[in-house]
């Protein structure tokens, strides 16, 4: 097979696509820097929570990316892979990238939540429905990553992973309701009533909004970069490395001044975008 075929993918081929990724990365960095500046210096401390409220510019945004954007995208991409008409390794790699970045954001959600929880509720961890669902979700998708690490042909791995994502995705609503009932049937009132004032306005609202935009941009950038790495990994894993190495050796042998006719082995060209 021509190695170029394997690597053909919309995010690798054109210089324009690579510039787009770069620009999204720069935009993410700028938006994040602005959020940090606004969140730490410009916005006022909260009446009740003081400086602790500044976590609101991290925690909800990170949770939004992890729980909805990343895992939602992974579920949709996996379904699109399983659907015969849209079956393409593109969806598989996108799902894998979304899960991996989502797991990072999920861990950040739990850590930032814990940092907030200790001073606000007095405990690092509460067996609240949301926390519990988030933790179960993390474990489910760690399982997805573990299954992906099992060596297999890209197509086999893609089918396997997509099925697993499907099974996990249908479980999430059931887990959500079960831990919700588990909690509410267990004890009446929960300590986790949101103690943020329901109306936040002015600079705080804008900063909160900006944090969502910034973290979404960070997610998109990480997703695209991870996708690219996934393509390159598959390319390496399927043996075209040897072809590329032979090509390199052939290049070294070509300007041979002695001209002893050492023949360059026929190698496949290095695909565009892998330089």
């Amino acid at each position: 097979m021509n190695p170029n075929q394997r690597v053909r993918s919309p995010l690798l081929q054109s210089a324009r696509a690579r510039w787009t990724v770069r620009i999204i990365g720069i935009a993410a960095a700028v938006a994040t820097a602005f959020t940090v500046w606004l969140g730490l210096w410009v916005t006022p401390p909260d009446q009740v929570q003081g400086d602790l409220v500044r976590l609101v510019y991290i925690h909800p945004g990170v949770a939004w990316v992890a729980l909805y954007l990343a895992f939602g995208l992974a579920a949709v991409a996996s379904l699109l892979y399983l659907w015969p008409r849209t079956r393409s390794l593109f969806w598989d790699r996108l799902a894998a990238a979304a899960v991996e970045v989502g797991v990072v954001f999920n861990v950040c959600t739990l850590i930032s939540g814990s940092i907030w929880g200790k001073p606000a509720w007095g405990v690092w961890w509460a067996w609240d429905a949301r926390l519990t669902s988030t933790a179960v979700l993390l474990v489910l998708f760690l399982g997805y990553m573990a299954l992906r690490r099992v060596p297999a042909e890209p197509e086999v791995r893609a089918r396997r992973s997509a099925f697993l994502a499907l099974f996990a995705a249908v479980d999430i609503p059931i887990v959500h309701f079960s831990v919700l009932w588990w909690k509410t049937l267990h004890q009446g009132a929960t300590v986790l009533n949101p103690d943020l004032s329901p109306t936040i306005h002015g600079s705080m609202a804008w900063t909160l909004l900006l944090s969502f935009v910034a973290l979404t941009l960070v997610f998109v950038w990480m997703l695209l970069v991870r996708y690219r790495i996934g393509v390159l990994e598959d390319w390496l894993g399927t043996g075209e490395l040897d072809a590329a190495l032979r090509e390199r050796q052939a290049e070294g042998a070509a300007p041979d001044p002695a001209g002893d006719g050492s023949e360059a082995p026929a190698g496949a060209p290095v695909p565009e975008g892998v330089r």
Binding site: L82, V136, V139, L140, L142, G143, A146, L147, V150, V156, R159, R160, F163, L164, L166, F167, A168, V170, D171, I174, V175, F177, S178, V179, W181, W182, L185
Partner: protein, 223 residues
Amino acid sequence: MWRDTLLVAGKDLRIEARSRVALSQVAPFGIVALVLFAFALGPDRALMATGAPGLFWVAVLFCTVQAVQRSVSVESADGARDGLRLSGLDPAGLFLGKTVAVAAQLVVLEALLAVGVVLLYGARIDVPWLIVVSCVLGTVGLAATGTLYGALSAGLRVRETLLPFLLLPIVAPVLLAGTRIWQAAMAGGTPADGTQWLRLLVIFDAVYVALGVVVYGPIQETA
């Protein structure tokens, strides 16, 4: 499909009847788990009775993993899986058959574990029918998810380590529901609390049995 279900379930149960792996290994493993839980909680009988519902279901979950591993491994030798695929049996029937066989073994195990919980932990059961219904519904869900995940991990060299990690978080709702129903059915519980959880178990079973019937064929092509 139903005929295939009975054929496959009969085959797996006959293998079990002749090899007695579930009876001589999985069931004693469940009892060992119950004894170890008792050691972990200390000799306080009241505490054990309180924890009995959860400990029962955790032991059932561990046994499920074992039963599913066994159900997969009987197909892994001598190309049995390819033989089954070549036999022209309906994949949905295959799935249901494997599920029924695992479920039948689990029900026997659960009866054993329930007796163990009552004897060892001093758990007092007030509403036995609730316990029976929860065990049947929970078992269907566990067997269906187990069979699905077993098929997904069949043929993997890391199956033994990967399967529990993949399966146990998925069946967390069964553990929650089963534990709550047992608490409701035990002395001092309110049986009315159990019905909501029974509904959750029914939904869980329906979702995974339906999913298995639809996707079991395609899954087998991945292995």
